[in-house]
Structures are given as C-alpha cells and as structure tokens.
Amino acid sequence: MSRRAFLVALAVVLVVNAGALVSVARNRAGEPDATLVLEERELELQRGDGDNSGLLLRLRYQHASFDLDPRTSVPEDTLAPRFIDQAKLEALGFDCSVAAGNAEATAKYRAVLPRPAFIVMVLGGPEWERRVSAWQERRRRHTDDLVARGELKGDAETHARTEIAEAPRRLSRLMPVDAGRDAAALRAMYPDRSRSLILRGVVRLHLIDASARGGPSLHGDLDRVFPVVVNVPRALHAPLDALGPPPRPARGAGVTRDRSAAMLDHAPRYEVRVSAGRTFQPWVTEVRLLR
C-alpha cells in the first residue's frame, strides 16, 4: 500500500500541474480575446522587498464602492458607475424574489452567497472623461468648502488642488461597466478588443435598506476581479528595473488620500501591453517606459 500511495502522491503533482499548463496553453492559443495598452495607473508596480525578487503589477480599476460601504454611499460618491442593479443581479443568477422594501428582506439577503461572473472593463473613452470631469467638479467644491472653513490651507490646499487638476493623468482609466454569465454575449456587446477587457470576477449582493441613501434597493457590488496581480516575466523586467521608487506625495499634514477613486500619487511612468486569452487570463507582452 505504501508504494501505491507514494505513486499516487507523485501522480497528483504531475496531473495537477499538467492540468494547469494545459489551461495556460488553451488560454494563449490563437488570437487573444483582447489586447490593451495599460499604464502604471491601471497596473501599479508591486515590487517585492529584499526577500522577493519577482515583479508583479496590481490591477487597479475604478470601483463603484471603492473602499466605501455601498450601503451608506451613493453613486455620486465614486467615479465609477454602479452598474449592477436588481435586473443585472437576477441575470447573474441571484434570487431577488423578496422585494428590498419587504419586511423579510433583511433575513432573506443577510447571507447570500456571492456569485462568479464575467466582468467587462472598459479603458477610458468619452464616458470615463465625463465622469472624471464630474468627479473633479465635486472635489473642487469639497476643497473650496474645506478652505472656507479653514480646515485646508497652505501646502495641503496646494496638493489637493494639484491632485484634482492632474486627475485625468493619474486616475485609472479602467472602469467596470457590465457583468454577465456569458462571456461571448458580453464580447458581442463590447466588440472593441483594444478597449474592453473581459475578466472573471465575483459579484456580491447588498441590500440597501430604507434608512440608507438610495434605499430600499438591491445592489450588486464587484467583490473582486481575477487576477488581482499580473506577473511580469523575467524577459520584460528591464524597463521596470530601471525605475526608482515612485515620487512621494507631498500632501500636507492631516490630508489623506481620496478613496472615492483609484488614482496614482504621481504621473504614470510606464505602459504595459496586456493580452487576455480564450479563458480570460491576462499576461504581459510588452513593457515600455513613458517619457
């Protein structure tokens, strides 16, 4: 029995790795599903410390509830649209049979399993520009209020205004706009393969109750998108190795980073060509420094 169990252990290693590599080959075979040129603002360098020599790029995208609680925030709080309404939730397979305003809704939706879905991410475009302008306007008003109340002044005010002015160059242009169970149907709706990227993700249902802003309603939140990070192969390390640490922001005392949008603290320093294959797993094909 020992011998057989030993062979089973070896077989597990070989079979599971073979399965993974076949999946990779399948993903990368033929024409990619999409090829996009992203910048540092969408793929932030996550350099390892002395104990990690790998180079990973963290995917950053505008998120409708980017670090905000979807039950207490409203769509206007964030740059990205809230695109998962009740109809979309139902299309994703969620059981929304109890109305949000119903007395049984809290019990019904308290422990709903999140569901996997294909997520469409669109890179920039007129809608993104419109939303960035609106976001800048809101931030300007907010900054003016703080200045008028004497809560923002000196370097901190300068930094806040610089950040707003430079937002179009620093904000991530990747914005999730749609979700579905059928990747082919989504691709048919978003045919531009150089601007729309389909990835796998997880959607979570939230009940926004009557006491909260926008309630009562059912709202889908993009819980996560896969992959969280993209590996940079050794052959493409050189441009990123040449980069120093990112410039440190000079925010001024007491001013924290705005959390309503995914934004870099500085101008993007590189761009990355990324392809996603038949099974929607992206890989890096080129890295170039921006002047």
């Binding site: 020992s2 169990a5 030993f6 252990a9 599971v16 790998g54 422990a111 399993l113 819980d223 050794r234």
Partner: protein, 358 residues
C-alpha cells in the same frame, strides 16, 4: 523490514512493547506482595524472552521501550512539526528570493520539481525506521512545496482559483499519510477534503466557493464529515491507528458545522425559517455529541469520547449563555454551570459503575 510474526505495524509494535512493560511492572508488584513467585529459571527465561522481543521491536520499528523514551519521542514530534513549519517557510522564502531572476520555464520547472523531490526524500527517509521523525518532517515540507507550486503557478499565469487545487492538496496529503503512516497529515488531508466537498457544493449551486464566502453555508461540511466516519469503519490492517484519527476528524467537522448552524440558521442550505433551522441544529448539537460519547464508551473510542464531550460542553454552555447570561447574576450563572458539571459527573459515575459490574 517489519516482522509480521512480531507485529505488522509500528503502532501494533508500540502497543506490544507497552504491554510488556506493564506486565513486567505488575509481575514485580505481585512478587513483592508475595502473590506470585516464578522459579528462577522461568523468571530468567521470561526476562530473556522479553529483552529479546523488546530489542527486536526497537530495532525493527524504533518503538519506545521506556517512559523517558516516550517523553523524548513526544518532544521530537513537536520539534519535527516546528522544523517542518520553519523549513516550509525557508522553501517559500528561498523561492521568492530567486524567482525574479529565473525565466518562466525555469520557474515552473523548479516549482514542479520541489514537491516531487520532497516526496522522494520522504520515501528515502521512510526506509530507515530510525528516521521516522524526519519522514514526518519532510512529508509536511512536501505538502508545503505542493501548495507553493500551485499557488505560484497560478500567480505566474494569472489562473483563476479552482476547488480542484484544494482537492489536489487533500489527495496529496492523504497519499503521503497512508504511505508513511503520518496521522497529522491524515487529519489535515481529511479536513482539506471536507473543504473541497463543501466548496464543490457551493460551486455547483452557482456560488463563489473560496473562504470566507464558503463559510456562508455549512451543511456541505456535514456530508464529508459523515463520509469520514464511514471511512473510519473500513478495516485498516496496516494503519490500525488511522480509524481513530478519521473518526475524530469526521466528528469534529460535523460538530463544528452543527454548532455554527445552531447559532446562525441563515448559513444553512435548508429552505426554512432560520429560527426553525437553529432549533433543529440545537437539538442535534446535543444528540450527536451524546451519540459520540455513548459509542466512545461502548467501543473504547477515546478520541470520539473526548470530542463528543467537548462538543456537548460547547452546546450546553452555549445554551446556558442564551438562556441565562443576560438576566442572571453572574455568580448564579457559573453556579448553574458548575452544578451541571456535578450532575454530569454523577451520571457518568453511574454509567462507569455499571460498566465495571458488566
């Protein structure tokens, strides 16, 4: 090589050695009390026989032939586990220190080779009974290497996580457990297998399966828990210490699921009102441990008895908290808990006395 005439497995050999030592101690007590006096030649033949047998057991199976040796073995087991954790961390850090300097093909080759080499080393160590602690240590490192392998291959190629990786960890750990008699790996493999079954049920239902979302539904753990109990009833001729581990793990998996569902009915697959679900599982949280205690006493399953008692206590204290904590003075609450413990001692004492008579 094991000698089936003496003992088929190390566990059997250890039990035989323990029996011999107990027999020798009892014989000495009988002689000292004057209840028994063996003739000198009988005594010397018996001593010589036991000495030779213990020597054979020790050389063949590396069994412990004294209490001091047993204590050392326990210490060595603990050191082996700590060593395995440290070595696994070292393997992880070593790989991450250098992986950025490798091309993708080399990264993948190293990652696949790591668990294969560690498994090979486990096999080599297992051929020497005296290296049994090293065998356990390297086997744990082999499992860590497979986790590193699959997680990093997933990261390199941006693979979406699947429950099949969890299945691979479980089968690998169980295979090593059966190959080298590793009880810790058996329990770990059984728990991970339970996670795989629960995750697969969630995935089949269209849900996202990874923890912590996996823990939004708990009945998925009851099914593999029951399967582990059934599995423990399969005769294990060469691993006769495994059924107890499987039984204990199965009971623990079922018990935890029942405890959670008795508190949070919304985490159930059952299409019923959550209060009803909680009530059903609260009843089960007493019945299942009581059955485990009963079976444990009847069949001498000490593990089942211990886990059943623990689950019963948890269920009882949980109910007491629900009923009394908010309104009862705390001194009275703990008095009630203490009185219950006294009551249980009385009941168990009666059962124990009845067992002695029978």
């Amino acid at each position: 090589m094991p000698d089936p005439q003496v003992a088929p497995t190390r566990a059997t050999a250890q039990r035989r050695a323990d029996r011999i030592r107990q027999f020798q101690a009892e014989l000495a007590a009988l002689e000292s009390d004057g209840a028994l006096a063996l003739a000198a030649d009988q005594r010397s033949r018996l001593d010589a026989y036991h000495a030779a047998l213990l020597e054979r057991l020790a050389s063949t199976f590396d069994v412990d032939v004294s209490d001091t040796q047993k204590q050392f073995s326990r210490g060595m087991q603990a050191i082996a586990i700590i060593g395995a954790i440290a070595l696994a961390a070292s393997v992880f850090l070593f790989f991450f220190h250098f992986w950025g300097r490798m091309g993708t093909a080399l990264q993948v080759a190293v990652l696949i080779a790591a668990p294969l080499v560690a498994t090979g080393l486990t096999e080599l160590a297992s051929r020497r009974q005296r290296l049994r602690f090293l065998t356990g240590l390297v086997a744990l490192v082999a499992v860590a290497c497979l986790i590193l392998n699959l997680e990093v291959v997933g990261e390199i190629f941006a693979l979406t996580p699947t429950p099949e990786a969890v299945l691979a960890y479980a089968v690998f750990a169980l295979a090593l457990a059966y190959a080298y008699g590793q009880r810790l790996l058996l329990a770990a493999g059984a728990v991970v297998l339970s996670v795989y079954v629960a995750a697969s049920i969630v995935r089949l239902a269209g849900g996202w399966w990874m923890p912590p979302d996996l823990f939004l539904r708990w009945e998925g753990f009851v099914l593999p828990g029951v399967a582990l109990l059934v599995w423990s009833s399969v005769p294990h001729r060469l691993r006769d210490d495994f059924p107890g581990v499987l039984r204990g793990t199965g009971l623990a998996v079922i018990g935890v699921a029942i405890v959670v569902l008795s508190r949070e009915g919304q985490r159930s697959w059952l299409p019923a009102d959550e209060r009803t679900i909680e009530a059903v599982y609260q009843i089960l949280s007493f019945i299942v441990p009581a059955a485990a205690i009963g079976l444990g006493m009847r069949r001498g399953w000490t593990g089942a008895l211990a886990i059943g008692s623990l689950l019963f206590t948890i269920a009882l204290v949980t109910k007491y908290v629900d009923w009394w904590w908010d309104w009862m003075p705390k001194y009275l609450f703990f008095l009630a808990v203490g009185a219950t413990a006294l009551g249980l001692l009385w009941v168990f004492g009666r059962v124990r006395a009845r067992l002695r008579i029978s």
